[in-house]
C-alpha cells in the first residue's frame, strides 16, 4: 500500500515535470532564435557604420563592369570569365566583413551586396564569406534581379530581417558613402542554433573552359 502510494506520487511528480518539456524546449528555441536576431541586428548596425561605401564602389575594375551585362550568344561565360576586382579595395572590405562576422561566437557570414552599375534593376553579391550562406544568392550567378526587400533597404536606408530559407536568419543593412547615399547593403546571416546548415559548394559551374580538347572523332 505504501509502495503504491510512493509510486503514484513519483508518477505524478514525473508527469508534472515532464509534461511541460516540449513547451519549455519550444520556448528555449524561440528565445535562442530571438537572441540570434538580436546579435545579427547589432552586427548589421555596426556594419553600416564600419563599411566604407566609397571603397566598396571602387572594388570592381572598370573593365569587369563593362563586361557584367555583356551577352555573347556563343559564350555564356563571357561576363564571369572577365570578372575582376581591385585587390586592395576588395581585401580591405573583406577583412572588415570577416571582423564583423566574428562579433558573435557562432558561425556567421557577412556578405556585401552592390547594385550593378548602370542597371538599376540588378544587384550582385560582391563579397561572400567562408560559410557561403545567403538567403538570396542564386549559386553561381554573377548578377541577379534585386529582391524587393533589398530595394527597400537601398531606398529607405533601413535594415530588414529576412527569414526565407529554413533555419536561416539574415539581417540586411545599408552601406553608406561619404555623401550619405546608400550605395549597397550587407547581409548578416546565421542559422538558428538547432538548424543544420548545408554543405558548401565545391564544384565548378558549367565545367572547365572548352571541355573538349581538339576532337579526333
Amino acid at each position: 500500500m505504501r509502495k503504491r502510494l510512493v509510486l503514484t506520487v513519483l508518477v505524478g511528480l514525473c508527469g508534472s515535470v515532464l509534461l511541460p518539456i516540449p513547451i519549455q524546449a519550444e520556448d528555449q528555441a524561440k528565445k535562442e532564435s530571438e537572441g540570434v536576431v538580436r546579435d545579427l541586428n547589432e552586427i548589421a548596425r555596426v556594419a553600416s557604420v564600419m563599411l566604407d561605401g566609397d571603397v566598396c564602389r571602387r572594388i570592381m575594375t572598370e573593365r569587369a563592369i563593362g563586361y557584367l551585362s555583356k551577352i555573347d550568344p556563343r559564350d555564356p561565360w563571357v561576363a564571369s570569365d572577365n570578372f575582376d576586382v581591385y585587390h586592395e579595395a576588395y581585401i580591405e572590405t573583406k577583412k572588415t566583413l570577416i571582423r564583423l562576422s566574428r562579433l558573435v561566437p557562432y558561425a556567421c557570414d557577412v556578405n556585401l551586396w552592390m547594385p550593378v552599375p548602370g542597371d538599376s534593376g540588378k544587384i550582385q553579391v560582391l563579397i561572400r564569406n567562408v560559410n557561403e550562406w545567403s538567403q538570396f544568392w542564386t549559386w553561381g550567378a554573377l548578377t541577379q534581379e534585386t529582391p524587393t526587400v533589398m530595394k527597400q533597404v537601398l531606398q529607405a536606408g533601413r535594415s530588414e530581417i529576412v527569414r526565407q530559407k529554413p533555419g536561416m536568419i539574415s539581417v540586411l543593412a545599408p552601406v553608406f558613402d561619404s555623401l550619405g547615399d546608400t550605395v549597397g547593403l550587407v547581409e548578416v546571416v546565421a542559422f538558428e542554433p538547432n538548424a543544420a546548415p548545408p554543405q558548401v559548394h565545391a564544384h565548378r559551374v558549367g565545367g572547365p573552359i572548352s571541355v573538349a580538347p581538339p576532337a579526333l572523332e
Binding site: 559564350d75 585587390h87 548545408p198
Partner: protein, 612 residues
C-alpha cells in the same frame, strides 16, 4: 540458336552477309541467334543490334556456336567482351560464363548492362554495369529496365588473367538456358607471356567535389560517418581496380573545409594549431596506408595523389592576409600536418596544395583555378613561399603545388617556374604548345591534362582518345573533371553521362559505386598503354608512338597537336570560349571509329608475342 556460319564463306560473300547483318542490327531487327558475343567496343542495343556510333563495316559480332570467339591478352590484365542474349519472343533465361580449363587460373566477372535512354536523341546505350553472380536468372523484356519491345539483354564479361597465369590458350563457354533449351557459345583466350606492368604509364584521374552527394545517392546516409567513409573508400577502390585515381575536393569556394577533409583546428594567430585528427584519419588513413585496397586484384597500395584542404581561408584566416599572422597560422598548421603524415608513414602519396576558387564566386580577389589575369600569379608565389617555410627541407612527405591552368598556361609555365610543380592543363589549349612537355617534364614537373568524359552517344573508343593523347604527348595523366554525378535520372532520362563514370549502386541494392562500360573500356586501354610503353627498352618510344597513332586513326603523333592559332599571341584575358572554339575548329579534326583501339591492341600484342 543458329550459327551465322560466316567462316566458310568466301571473302565477297562474307562482306555481303556482314553488310546485311549490320543493317539488321542497326535497324534493330531480330536475328535468329539467342546468345552471342560482341567485342568490347561494339556496344549492344536492347533490340539485337549494335549502337549506331559503334557500327563499322567490318562488324565482327560472333554468333557462331561452333567456332569459338577468340581474344588475346597479356598477363596481369583483363580481357573483356559483351555477351548478348536475344529472345524475340521474350521469357525467362539463365546465363553463366565459365573458363573450362582445369587450371582455374583465370577468373570471370559478370555484369548486367543497363540500357540508358538518352534525352538528347532518344536512343538506348548500355553503360552502368551491375555486378551479378552466376548463374544469373533474368527475364526479357527486363521488367526493371522497362524498355518497350526489348528483345536483348546484355552482359559485360571481364576475364581476369593474373600475372601468374601460364601462357597458352584458355577455353571458356557462355551458357544460356531458356526453359529446356541450352545454348552455348565457346570462346578462347590466348594468353601471351608478356605481363602488363603494375605501374601505369598514364594516370587517369576521376575528380569529384565534396561529399554531400553521398547522402543524396545512398539513402540519406549520414555524412560524415563510418558508412560514408566505407562508401567513399569503395569509390576509391572501384577507380583503383580500373587503373585509375579518385579525387574529392574537400572545401568550398568560400574556403570552408568539409569536416572529414581536414584536421580540426583551434586558436588564432600564434595559438592556431591542429586540435583533432579524428575524422581526417578515419577518412584518409586506409587510403594513405593502402589498407582500403586490401583484397583487390591489384593489391593494397597507398593512393598516389590527394587534395590538401589548404585554401586562402584555411588553415590561415584571410583576415590576416598580408600580415604576420597569416604566415604564422599557415606555417604552424602545415608543419603539424607534415609531422603527422611523416609519423604515420604516409610518404608515398603526393599531397596537393591546390586552389579551386575563382573571383566570380565572390569570396576571394584572385583566381586560383583557371587563372586569367597576370597579377593573380603573385598569390601563387606567396603560397609557395609559405609552403617552403612550413616544410623541413628534407621531408620525406611529398607536398606538391598543383595549378589547374587553362587560359594563361603558356604565361604561367614561365612566370610560375619553380613555384608550381604539378600542372593540370586544359586539353584544348595545351594542344597549341608542343614545346610544353619538354619544358615542364625537363624540370621535373608533373603534367596532367583535363577535360570532360565522352558521353555515351559518342563512339565507344572516344574514352581511349585522351589516355592515348597524354601518352603521345609524353605527359603524365588525364583528369575527367567530374565523374560521380549521374544527373537527375540516369536510368530513364539520361543526360549522356559526361559527368559520370561510376554510378551509385543503390538502385540495385548495392551500397557503393558500380562501374560503367566506359570505365571498363578505359581500363583496358590504360593497361594496353602500360604494356606498350614497356617495350621502349627494345623499340624506340618514337617508333612506338608513331605506330600507335597510325594504328589508331592513321595519324602521325605530330597531328595530335594543334597548329598555334593567332589567338595564342593575344593576351589570354582577351580570349573567349567562342574564340577558343573557333581556333580549335579551324585546326580541323581527325576521325576514328570503334575499331581504332582494337587496331592499336593488335599492334601491342604483336610486340608482346615478340617478347622473350
Amino acid at each position: 540458336m543458329r550459327a551465322m556460319g560466316g567462316t566458310r564463306f568466301g571473302a565477297t560473300m562474307r562482306k555481303l552477309v556482314l553488310a546485311a547483318f549490320i543493317s539488321f542490327h542497326v535497324a534493330g531487327s531480330a536475328l535468329p541467334a539467342d546468345v552471342f558475343i560482341l567485342p568490347e567496343f561494339q556496344r549492344p542495343t536492347p533490340f539485337n543490334g549494335v549502337v549506331a556510333a559503334d557500327a563499322t563495316p567490318d562488324f565482327p559480332g560472333h554468333r557462331d556456336t561452333k567456332t569459338p570467339y577468340r581474344a588475346a591478352t597479356a598477363r596481369n590484365a583483363f580481357v573483356s567482351f559483351h555477351l548478348v542474349v536475344d529472345l524475340p519472343a521474350g521469357g525467362d533465361f539463365e546465363v553463366s560464363v565459365k573458363i573450362t580449363d582445369a587450371t582455374r587460373e583465370l577468373e570471370v566477372d559478370l555484369f548486367r548492362e543497363w540500357f540508358h535512354l538518352t534525352e538528347s536523341n532518344r536512343n538506348y546505350y548500355p553503360d552502368a554495369l551491375v555486378p551479378v553472380s552466376m548463374p544469373y536468372k533474368a527475364r526479357l523484356p527486363d521488367p526493371d529496365n522497362r524498355i518497350e519491345k526489348q528483345t536483348s539483354s546484355a552482359f559485360w564479361v571481364d576475364v581476369w588473367v593474373p600475372k601468374e597465369a601460364t601462357p597458352g590458350v584458355y577455353r571458356g563457354v557462355a551458357l544460356l538456358r531458356t526453359g529446356h533449351k541450352r545454348t552455348t557459345v565457346p570462346f578462347e583466350i590466348s594468353v601471351v607471356e608478356a605481363t602488363v606492368p603494375e605501374k601505369d604509364v598514364v594516370t587517369i584521374d576521376h575528380n569529384s567535389y565534396g561529399s554531400s552527394w553521398l547522402a543524396d545517392y545512398y539513402g540519406g546516409i549520414e555524412v560524415p560517418s563510418e558508412q560514408s567513409f566505407r562508401v567513399t573508400h569503395l569509390y576509391h577502390r572501384l577507380f583503383y581496380e580500373h587503373r585509375g585515381v579518385f579525387h574529392q575536393l574537400g572545401y568550398g569556394h568560400g574556403g570552408k573545409v568539409i569536416a572529414e577533409f581536414a584536421p580540426e583546428i583551434e586558436g588564432s594567430g600564434r595559438t592556431r594549431r591542429i586540435k583533432n585528427w579524428g575524422l581526417y584519419d578515419r577518412h584518409y588513413g586506409p587510403l594513405l596506408d593502402g589498407s582500403a585496397f586490401a583484397g583487390s586484384r591489384r593489391g593494397p597500395r597507398p593512393i598516389p595523389f590527394v587534395y590538401l584542404p589548404i585554401n586562402p581561408e584555411w588553415p590561415a584566416s584571410f583576415l590576416w592576409w598580408g600580415e604576420p599572422g597569416y604566415e604564422t597560422e599557415f606555417v604552424n598548421v602545415v608543419s603539424q600536418m607534415e609531422q603527422h603524415f611523416r609519423q604515420k608513414g604516409w610518404t608515398q602519396t603526393r599531397f596537393e596544395m591546390f586552389f579551386n576558387h575563382k573571383k566570380r564566386y565572390k569570396a576571394f580577389p584572385w583566381d586560383g583555378d583557371e587563372t586569367r589575369f597576370p597579377e593573380d600569379d603573385n598569390y601563387f608565389r606567396e603560397y609557395r613561399g609559405l609552403l617552403r617555410k612550413a616544410l623541413p627541407p628534407e621531408t620525406p612527405v611529398k607536398f606538391v603545388f598543383r595549378n589547374d591552368s587553362s587560359w594563361a598556361m603558356e604565361r604561367q609555365f614561365e612566370s610560375l617556374a619553380g613555384v608550381v610543380d604539378f600542372w593540370v592543363c586544359g586539353g584544348s589549349v595545351f594542344a597549341w604548345y608542343p614545346q610544353a612537355p619538354r619544358l615542364l617534364k625537363g624540370r621535373g614537373d608533373i603534367v596532367w591534362l583535363y577535360g570532360g568524359a565522352p558521353d555515351v552517344t559518342k563512339v565507344s573508343t572516344a574514352i581511349t582518345e585522351n589516355p592515348l593523347r597524354v601518352w603521345l604527348y609524353g605527359v603524365d595523366g588525364w583528369v575527367h573533371w567530374q565523374t560521380t554525378n549521374p544527373g537527375e535520372d540516369p536510368w530513364f532520362a539520361f543526360n549522356g553521362g559526361a559527368e559520370v563514370l561510376a554510378y551509385p549502386g543503390e538502385r540495385f541494392g548495392i551500397r557503393g559505386p558500380i562501374p560503367s562500360v566506359r570505365l571498363k573500356l578505359q581500363r583496358n586501354c590504360v593497361q594496353d598503354l602500360a604494356l606498350l610503353d614497356s617495350f621502349k627498352a627494345r623499340v624506340s618510344i618514337e617508333t612506338l608512338k608513331a605506330a600507335a597513332a597510325r594504328q589508331y586513326n592513321n595519324s602521325e603523333p605530330e597531328a595530335w597537336w594543334t597548329p598555334r592559332p593567332p589567338l595564342a599571341d593575344q593576351p589570354p584575358y582577351d580570349w573567349t570560349n567562342a574564340t577558343i572554339d573557333d581556333a580549335v575548329t579551324a585546326a580541323g579534326q581527325q576521325k576514328f571509329n570503334s575499331s581504332s583501339w582494337d587496331n592499336v591492341r593488335r599492334y601491342i600484342l604483336q610486340l608482346a608475342r615478340e617478347e622473350k
